[in-house]
C-alpha cells in the first residue's frame, strides 16, 4: 500500500516523494516547483475567466493518489530503435533520466489562468504520459496511453509530448476515474511541437461523476509545425480547463477541436487562449457541446493577434446544443487584435435547442423522439468527428460519447 498524504500538506507530500526511488535532481525540481506553487495565488473570481466557477467546494483534503500510472501501448522495434520514448513519466525518469531531466529543465509556464495548478502538477505528479519523438522520426501507429484512478483522491498527472523537428506522431491520451468518489483531478498537458513537426493529440476525459477537473494544457507550435488537438470530454462533476495555444513559430498551424457531452448537474467551464505571436500562423478552434439535464457549459475563448504577427489567420467557433430547458451554455469570444495586417480573424458562437421542425421531420420518418434526438446530436458532432483522422481514435471517442448521448445507431451505410 502506497503511503497517502493530504494533497496540499507539504510535509506529508515530501514523505510520499521521499519514499519513491527518485533521483535527487527530480526531488530538487519538486521542491522548487512546490515553492513556486506556494508563491502563486489561487485564481480569484475577480479574474474574468474565473467568474463562473468557484473552487469553494473543490475536495482539497483528499489524499494524493500515488499508485496510479499511465498504461502505454508498446512501441515497435523501429520506433524504439529510432530513439522514441513512450512511457509512464515515472518509468521514463527511471529508464531515460538524462532525457527527462533535459525535457523538464525546459518546462515553461502554463496558462496564466491556471498558473498555480500548473506548478502544483509539476511538483506533485505521481504519474504521467511521457512521449519523446526524435527529429525526423515518423510514427504511423496511433499511440495510446490510459490513466485510471481507482479511488477518491487528488491526482496531478503530467502529459508531456516533445515532438522534435519534422517528426510525426499521433497520441490518444485517456483519463478515467471511478464514479461516486470525491476527486480532484489536476492533470496537465504540455505539448511541444518542433519545427515542421506534425502532432495529433486526442485527450479523452471520462472522469468520475464526483471528480473536479481543474486541468490545464499548453501547446507550443513551432515553425511550420502542424498540430491538431482534440479534447473529448464526457466525465467529471465540474471541469475548469485552461488551454494555451502558442503560435510562436512562423508558419505554424493548429487546429483545436472539442467535443463535449454533459448532463446531470455537470458544470463545464473552459477558457482558451489562441496566442498568435509569429507571422503566417493559422489557428482554428471548433468546440461543440451537447448539454442535457441541468448541465451548464461556459466557453471563454480568447484570440490574441500580436502586433509582430503578420498575415495570420485565426478563427474560433463554439456551438452548443441544449437538450433540456434547464441546460445552459455561455460562449464568450474575446478578440484582441494588435495589428491590421491579418488575413482573417473571426468567431462564431451559438446556443440553442433542436429545431422543432427538424425533430418533427425525423419523427415523421418513424424515429422515436429519443432516436431522432440521438441522431441529430450525433450529426451535430460530425463536424468534429469527421476531422479525427484516426479510425481508432474516432471509435474510442464515439464509444465514450455513447455513455451520454446513447447509441445513435447512425451506422455507416
Amino acid at each position: 500500500m502506497a503511503p497517502v498524504a493530504g494533497a496540499l500538506d507539504p510535509a506529508a507530500l515530501m514523505e510520499v516523494f521521499g519514499s519513491r526511488p527518485e533521483p535527487d535532481w527530480l526531488r530538487t525540481i519538486r521542491r522548487r516547483t512546490w515553492a513556486g506553487y506556494d508563491a502563486t495565488p489561487w485564481p480569484s473570481a475577480s479574474e474574468e475567466e474565473w467568474r463562473r466557477t468557484r473552487l469553494d467546494e473543490l475536495p482539497r483534503d483528499v489524499p494524493l493518489v500515488s499508485d496510479a500510472r499511465a498504461e502505454v501501448s508498446v512501441l515497435d522495434a523501429d520506433a524504439t530503435g529510432a530513439g522514441v520514448v513512450f512511457a509512464d513519466l515515472g518509468d521514463a525518469v527511471r529508464d531515460h533520466p538524462e532525457l527527462v531531466q533535459r525535457v523538464l529543465a525546459a518546462d515553461a509556464a502554463g496558462p496564466r489562468t491556471h498558473a498555480a495548478f500548473w506548478e502544483l502538477s509539476r511538483a506533485s505528479w505521481t504519474a504521467g504520459t511521457f512521449l519523446y519523438v526524435p527529429a525526423g522520426v515518423t510514427i504511423s501507429l496511433v499511440l495510446r496511453s490510459r490513466t485510471a484512478t481507482a479511488g477518491a483522491g487528488a491526482f496531478f498527472p503530467r502529459t508531456i509530448v516533445v515532438a522534435e523537428a519534422n517528426s510525426t506522431v499521433t497520441l490518444l491520451d485517456e483519463f478515467s476515474s471511478v464514479d461516486g468518489e470525491p476527486g480532484w483531478f489536476g492533470g496537465t498537458v504540455d505539448i511541444r511541437a518542433g519545427a515542421g513537426a506534425r502532432v495529433r493529440y486526442a485527450n479523452l476525459q471520462r472522469l468520475g461523476d464526483a471528480t473536479w477537473n481543474i486541468g490545464a494544457q499548453r501547446v507550443e507550435v513551432g515553425p511550420d509545425a502542424e498540430v491538431t488537438i482534440l479534447n473529448a470530454q464526457v466525465g467529471s462533476l465540474v471541469t475548469k480547463l485552461g488551454m494555451d495555444i502558442l503560435m510562436s513559430g512562423r508558419g505554424g498551424t493548429s487546429r483545436l477541436l472539442g467535443i463535449l457531452a454533459a448532463g446531470d448537474e455537470q458544470k463545464i467551464d473552459i477558457n482558451s487562449l489562441q496566442d498568435l505571436s509569429a507571422s503566417n500562423t493559422t489557428s482554428d478552434l471548433l468546440y461543440l457541446s451537447a448539454l442535457y439535464d441541468s448541465a451548464h457549459a461556459v466557453f471563454y475563448g480568447s484570440t490574441r493577434v500580436r502586433s509582430e504577427a503578420k498575415q495570420t489567420s485565426s478563427f474560433q467557433e463554439c456551438r452548443n446544443l441544449l437538450l433540456s430547458p434547464k441546460a445552459g451554455a455561455e460562449p464568450i469570444p474575446v478578440l484582441e487584435i494588435e495589428t491590421n495586417d491579418i488575413l482573417r480573424c473571426g468567431h462564431g458562437a451559438t446556443a440553442g435547442a433542436i429545431d422543432p421542425v427538424q425533430m418533427f421531420y425525423a419523427q415523421s420518418r418513424g424515429l422515436s423522439h429519443d432516436q431522432a434526438e440521438r441522431m441529430i446530436v450525433r450529426g451535430f458532432f460530425e463536424r468534429v468527428v469527421a476531422q479525427i483522422g484516426s479510425e481508432a481514435i474516432r471509435a474510442h471517442v464515439l464509444a465514450a460519447l455513447e455513455d451520454r448521448i446513447g447509441s445513435a445507431e447512425v451506422v455507416a451505410a
Binding site: A372, E382, V411
Partner: protein, 279 residues
C-alpha cells in the same frame, strides 16, 4: 374498405388561429386525391395535422386510418402504421448522411427493435444487413434517376429545392408507405425533374397505396392521374370533382370557386403571400 383515410369535420388551430374549420375527406386504397387551394388556405396544416405535428391542435373532428383513430398517435407511430408525408419544406439534418438516415428510417419502420431487446443484456441490434440495404438503396436511387453520390451527402444540407424533393421521394420509396401525403412535391422542380420525379412516384405507387397529392399546378396531374380533385378554401373542402376540375381551376382561378360556392372574396386566404422558401 378498411384501408382508407377518413377525415371527418376536422377543426384545427395553431395558437389562437383557426385554420381548418370542419374539413371532411376520404382517401381509399389505391386512390389518388389531389388537393388544391390558394396560398395560406391550410393545405400544409392539414398534412402536418395528419402526420401529428405537435403544434397543430385538433379542436374537433376525427381522423381514422384503417379503421383506427390516429389523432392520439405520435408521428413516429403513424409512420410505422404506414403513413408518409413528403414535406413542402424538408428539414436539413447536418452531419447525418442520406445513406445512414435512410437506413435508420428503414429499420425504424420495417425492422423495429423488439422492446425486449432494449435492456442491457440485449444482443447488439443492427437491423437490415448493410449489403442488403445498399442494394435496396441503389435500386431505389436508380428508379428516381438519382446520382449515387447523393447518398454520402448530409440530409438536405445545402440541397437545392429540386434535390430536396427528390430526396423526399427517395424516402418514400425506401419506406414504402400505404398512405402518401405529398405536399407540393412538384414545386421547385424543373421540367425534366418534374417528369423524373413523377415517373419515380408512379413506379413507387402500389395498388394498395392511397395518395393525397397537394399541388398548385395542373401539370403534375398529367403525370399522376387523380381519381378526385378537391379545393380547400375557408378551412373546408368546398368543391370536389374529377380530373377536369383541375383544368377549370387552372383556367378560372380561385375567384371562380368563390363565386360558385358563395365564399366572399379573400376569406380563407388572408395570408396571400406564399410561405418563404428557406435558403
Amino acid at each position: 374498405m378498411t384501408d382508407q383515410l377518413i377525415i371527418r369535420d376536422l377543426e384545427v388551430s395553431i395558437g389562437t388561429k383557426k385554420i381548418l374549420r370542419g374539413l371532411s375527406l376520404s382517401v381509399g386504397q389505391g386512390e389518388v386525391h389531389a388537393l388544391m387551394g390558394p396560398n395560406g388556405s391550410g393545405k400544409t396544416s392539414l398534412a402536418y395535422t395528419l402526420m401529428g405535428h405537435p403544434d397543430y391542435h385538433v379542436d374537433a373532428g376525427e381522423v381514422t386510418w384503417r379503421g383506427e383513430s390516429i389523432l392520439k398517435m405520435a408521428p413516429d407511430k403513424r409512420a410505422r402504421a404506414g403513413m408518409f408525408l413528403a414535406f413542402q419544406y424538408p428539414s436539413a439534418i447536418p452531419g447525418v448522411t442520406v445513406a445512414s438516415f435512410l437506413r435508420n428510417i428503414y429499420n425504424a419502420v420495417h425492422h423495429p427493435r423488439n422492446p425486449d431487446e432494449a435492456g442491457e443484456g440485449a444482443i447488439k441490434y443492427t437491423g437490415i444487413p448493410l449489403a442488403k440495404f445498399r442494394r435496396l438503396l441503389e435500386e431505389k436511387m436508380a428508379l428516381l434517376s438519382m446520382d449515387p453520390g447523393f447518398s454520402t451527402r448530409y440530409v438536405n444540407d445545402g440541397f437545392s429545392g429540386g434535390e430536396k424533393k427528390r430526396l423526399e421521394m427517395l424516402q418514400m420509396a425506401i419506406m414504402n408507405p400505404t398512405l402518401a401525403i405529398l405536399d407540393e412535391t412538384d414545386s421547385g422542380l424543373d421540367i425534366d425533374a418534374l417528369r423524373q420525379v413523377a415517373d419515380g412516384i408512379n413506379a413507387t405507387l402500389t395498388p394498395e397505396m392511397g395518395v393525397l397529392l397537394i399541388t398548385h399546378y395542373q401539370r403534375m396531374l398529367n403525370y399522376i392521374r387523380p381519381d378526385q380533385v378537391h379545393v380547400l378554401l375557408d378551412g373546408r373542402i368546398v368543391m370536389s370533382g374529377g380530373e377536369e376540375l383541375s383544368h377549370q381551376l387552372e383556367a378560372n382561378g380561385y375567384d371562380w370557386v368563390r363565386e360558385q360556392v358563395g365564399v366572399p372574396d379573400g376569406v380563407g386566404d388572408e395570408v396571400a403571400e406564399p410561405a418563404p422558401q428557406p435558403a
